[in-house]
């Protein structure tokens, strides 16, 4: 179990992580979701003792990472597949990791087998494709047969086959009773991978729920409205709901009240409607809706 309590990390004026509390339970895949720059990687680095929190605390089964005796046997992490010396062979990379935590060197061959890198074990990691590097990173994480696993955007840059492989792999790890904590900025990806979700934006917690619940909450009550008096309608609806402009179609996307209420409000105020359609919004739309406030970098 990973437990963060009022975790904070400030870089100068940037509040990368701001008063963040959450728990990650064993036996499940927990997705760590947030747009770019939300603070996911920073949080993971703090969990692993690489960065010191500005405030608050984060522990693994009640202990700080630095207090773990042979940490690789307890926690396996893949934060960045490129954290490997390019002129060192995959085998040598895993070997020094194994020796450092008194893991039998025979385990190196096992994990290479698991991730399917046996054939290229003697080759320098610098020549690996992104997919192979990710696999090597995962091999490193599995080396100590750890109870807790952390993956930072493990599917970034992978082809569909690789994505499927990682997804199934994480399920297997969770089914074995391990704690699996995996970050992503894509809800659609997490929807298929994670059972629980911790959603953050601008370093703050937006939600911690089951994935099912989150999707149900996020996708209900989105209504597309088109009206020649859009500005006036917008003003009226804003008092009851979140309204966003869909500039592409010139319509309003209303989140938080039902179509029926919108129609009634429009009638009361004598506003003509050209379209009033409840939407079963896509996951990504819903996610963007939720994190809109906290998106660090808007695409213009």
């Amino acid at each position: 179990m990973i437990e963060a309590v009022r975790l904070q990390k400030h870089y100068g004026k940037t509040k990368a992580v701001d008063d963040l509390s959450f728990t990650v339970r064993p036996g499940r895949v927990t997705g760590f979701l947030g747009p770019n720059g939300a603070g996911k990687s920073t949080t993971m680095r703090m969990i692993l003792g690489l960065d010191t929190p500005t405030g608050g605390d984060v522990t693994i089964d009640g202990k700080h990472y630095a207090q773990l005796k042979q940490p690789l046997r307890k926690v396996g992490a893949l934060l960045d597949a490129k954290w490997v010396h390019p002129n060192r062979s995959a085998r040598a990379h895993l070997k020094w990791l194994a020796v450092s935590n008194k893991i039998p060197v025979s385990r190196v061959r096992e994990v290479l087998e698991i991730v399917g890198l046996t054939e290229v074990a003697h080759k320098n990691a610098g020549g690996f494709s992104l997919g192979m590097s990710q696999r090597l990173g995962i091999a490193g994480a599995l080396l100590g047969d750890p109870e807790v696993l952390l993956f930072d955007e493990p599917v970034n840059g992978l082809d569909p086959e690789g994505i499927l492989w990682i997804r199934q792999f994480m399920h297997r790890l969770a089914n074995e009773g391990r704690t699996v904590f995996v970050s992503s900025h894509l809800l659609s990806e997490m929807a298929q991978t994670a059972q629980d979700l911790i959603v953050i934006g601008k370093g703050q917690l937006i939600a911690q729920t089951s994935t099912e619940q989150f999707i149900a909450d996020a996708t209900q009550d989105t209504v597309r409205v088109r009206s020649p008096h859009a500005a006036k309608l917008r003003e009226i609806l804003a008092a009851h709901a979140t309204v966003t402009d869909d500039s592409a179609s010139g319509s309003l996307v209303v989140h938080g009240i039902a179509a029926q209420q919108i129609g009634e409000l429009a009638a009361e105020n004598q506003i003509v409607l050209h379209e009033l359609s409840p939407q079963r919004g896509s996951l990504e739309e819903a996610f963007m809706q939720l994190t809109k406030e906290s998106v660090e970098y808007h695409a213009h």
């Binding site: 690489l50 490129k82 010396h85 002129n87 990379h93 020094w96 990791l97 450092s100 490193g140």
Partner: protein, 251 residues
Amino acid sequence: MTLLAVERIKLFSTRSPYWCSALALVLGVGLTAIIAASTDNGQLSIGVTQFGSSQLALSVVLVMAALAVTTEYRFSTIRATFLAVPNRTSALVAKTVVVAFIAAVLGEIIAFGSVGMAKLLSPASDLAINTSGEWRHVAGVGLLYGIGAIIAIAVGILVRQTAGAVAILLVWNMLLEQLIGIIPKAGVKIQAWLPFMNANHFLQLGGDNTAEQAGAGIDFKLSQWGSLGYFAGVAIALLVVALIVAKRRDA
């Protein structure tokens, strides 16, 4: 012991230490060969066999030691290291011990290799190592490299990038300490307390060649072994600072 094994595997599973060692060997022994070849047979003495090892080759060894740390930062394997060994001080001390030991062994090989080369090229010269001063002059090179490696690692940890660390080490060792001598009067007094000057003082043989040796003309306040102790003290102090910084800052 585990950590020493880890650092040994890391060091020897990349190519740069092999290249640096080979280069240091070629430069160190090579310079002696050039000197021997350009000196009349029979005129060579122990005092001129270590020009290469104590200057040129030393610089290469400093670079090698600095690289052992800065490449870890460059490729972020330092983070992988700190994940495997959260006690950063132990991890970095282990690295220092391994690199310093290798540097020291390399120093002995280059020093005695240089004497061997001189004997080979100038068989009529008296190149026997007899006095304790002569032993210190030759065998001391290994100590110099070992301690120099500690300084290089400390600088590497502090600066974290190869170009910066190498520039600092080379300018410091090859240029800065010499240039300070230009300052009228005070220069030589300051030089008596500069670490690499003291290192050279430790190696000094005395006798005929003293005037040609590095550190000549400086009035050292320490004995030769005292100078070595001082050099080592500076190295350890620098390392301690580096370890404290590494422990405090984000990896």
